[in-house]
């Protein structure tokens, strides 16, 4: 039974203190949060912004018995911007992230992803860590943006800490052991142009049908030296588009050609079906989003 002071619905009622679904411990430090998560085991989970967990009833998913709220932990709500690296605490909100990166053009892709997702009130609650840790949320804007920025994820548990590449983290996140918590995202700083293109059904407020995130660097002759492109919301998990990246390297970056190559390669995606749109539609808009992302990157 957790030793931490959980808000517990049975308290004072005379009922057995069995921790009914939904008891919450508001952690004030990272060690305290990791201790509590460790004690809760599989009956517990971290609670960041809550924009996914609070909608569990709508998805007919039961709440966990215990939640450990991490939104008031100073080191998880901080963003550190150094000369060669940017470190983002997992409980940083989308709004705070967009604001912090607004004057760093190399991170336009992430500032746009964080600043355009959902609506203003959601952006003030939803966190970067929640966005990355929610395996079932295919339309997360920050995931492709971070993939194209070559992000690393720091995962902590009581007495242990490790860093893994984001692609690796996305693979292990559905089976992350209880007690392990995504604590930081680490981004290398590089000379590059970046852009984030998304297509929601309405101008804002909706989940995007598809997302294309792009980061490119150029050689002295203005040819693409390196490219990282990630596609989100089309398949269940965002991923890089390595064949398109390879096709862009060594040539000047041209929006029309990039869209043309994207159209030729788009059949490697298997779109996901959903109530709001069919699978084929998600795939069909990707080349246009590639063109838009290239235009935006060139204008950056």
């Amino acid at each position: 039974m957790p030793a931490h002071p959980f808000f517990d619905p049975t308290e004072g009622t005379g009922a057995m203190n069995t921790h009914s679904p939904g008891s919450i411990y508001v952690a004030r430090s990272l060690p305290a949060a990791l201790d509590a998560l460790n004690e809760c085991g599989s009956a517990g989970a971290p609670f960041a912004g809550g924009t996914w967990i609070m909608r569990s009833p709508i998805r007919n998913e039961p709440h966990k018995h215990h939640y450990v709220a991490i939104g008031k932990i100073p080191e998880l709500t901080a963003i550190r911007i150094d000369a060669d690296v940017v470190e983002i605490g997992a409980a940083v909100t989308h709004a705070a992230l967009a604001s912090a990166l607004a004057d760093l053009p190399e991170f336009d892709v992430l500032a746009t992803a964080a600043g355009c997702s959902a609506n203003p009130a959601i952006r003030a609650m939803a966190t970067i860590g929640g966005n990355l840790s929610t395996s079932a949320f295919a339309a997360a804007d920050c995931v492709p943006a971070l993939l194209c920025l070559d992000a690393e994820a720091e995962v902590s548990s009581r007495g242990d800490q490790e860093r893994v590449g984001l692609e690796r983290f996305l693979k292990i996140r559905p089976t992350l052991e209880p007690g392990r918590l995504l604590t930081r995202i680490i981004l290398p700083r590089r000379d590059r142009k970046t852009a984030h293109a998304r297509l929601p059904l309405r101008k804002s407020g909706d989940y995007p049908a598809a997302i294309v995130s792009l980061a490119v660097s150029f050689d002295a002759a203005a040819r693409v030296r390196a490219a990282r492109i990630a596609v989100g919301s089309v398949e269940p998990v965002a991923r890089r588009w390595e064949r398109l990246e390879a096709a862009l390297v060594g040539r000047p970056l041209d929006p029309a050609r990039a869209a043309e190559v994207a159209a030729e390669l788009a059949d490697e995606f298997t779109g996901r079906d959903s109530v709001d749109m069919p699978a084929w539609y998600r795939v069909s808009v990707v080349p246009s989003l590639v063109r838009r992302a290239v235009v935006a990157a060139l204008d950056a």
Binding site: P5, F6, F7, D8, P9, E11, G12, T13, S20, P21, G22, S23, I24, V26, F47, G49, G50, T51, M54, R55, P57, I58, H63, Y67, A69, G71, A118, N119, P120, A121, I122, A124, M125, S204, G205
Partner: protein
Amino acid sequence: MVLSLTVNSDHLSPATNPITPLVDVLREDFHLTGAKPVCREGFCGACMVLVDGVPILSCLMPAALAVDCEIRTVEGLAVDGTLTPIQAALEACDAVQCGMCFPGMVVTLTHLLTIKPGATRDDIRAALTGNICRCTGYERIVEAALLAVAVR
């Protein structure tokens, strides 16, 4: 631990599950029915309240995380029966229709005019992207917000 909440300067310790959405506690325990639980997904904005001065979707905030916060609902905005400037402007512009979205609209615009007293039409439209009006009465709401800006 028992929940203790402060809403419109009133204190109450509701006997509720800590993960109960704040909107339900406001309505069922505090009997403040201004905030509406419409979509319960954070899309519509009808449940918006101010938590420490910031607009929060009360359908997505568990009651336990509102402890030690100052919560203000639409019922707590007017002082001694005197409407706030945005409330007065919305009335003057006859912007209220069915009323379902309105408490959320008022809360969002109250915050916007606090942080951006000179808000433009674009600022107002951007701020309201998370407030859905099923009567589609947006234009008069935006005009009312511009009026509130102009009379300041």
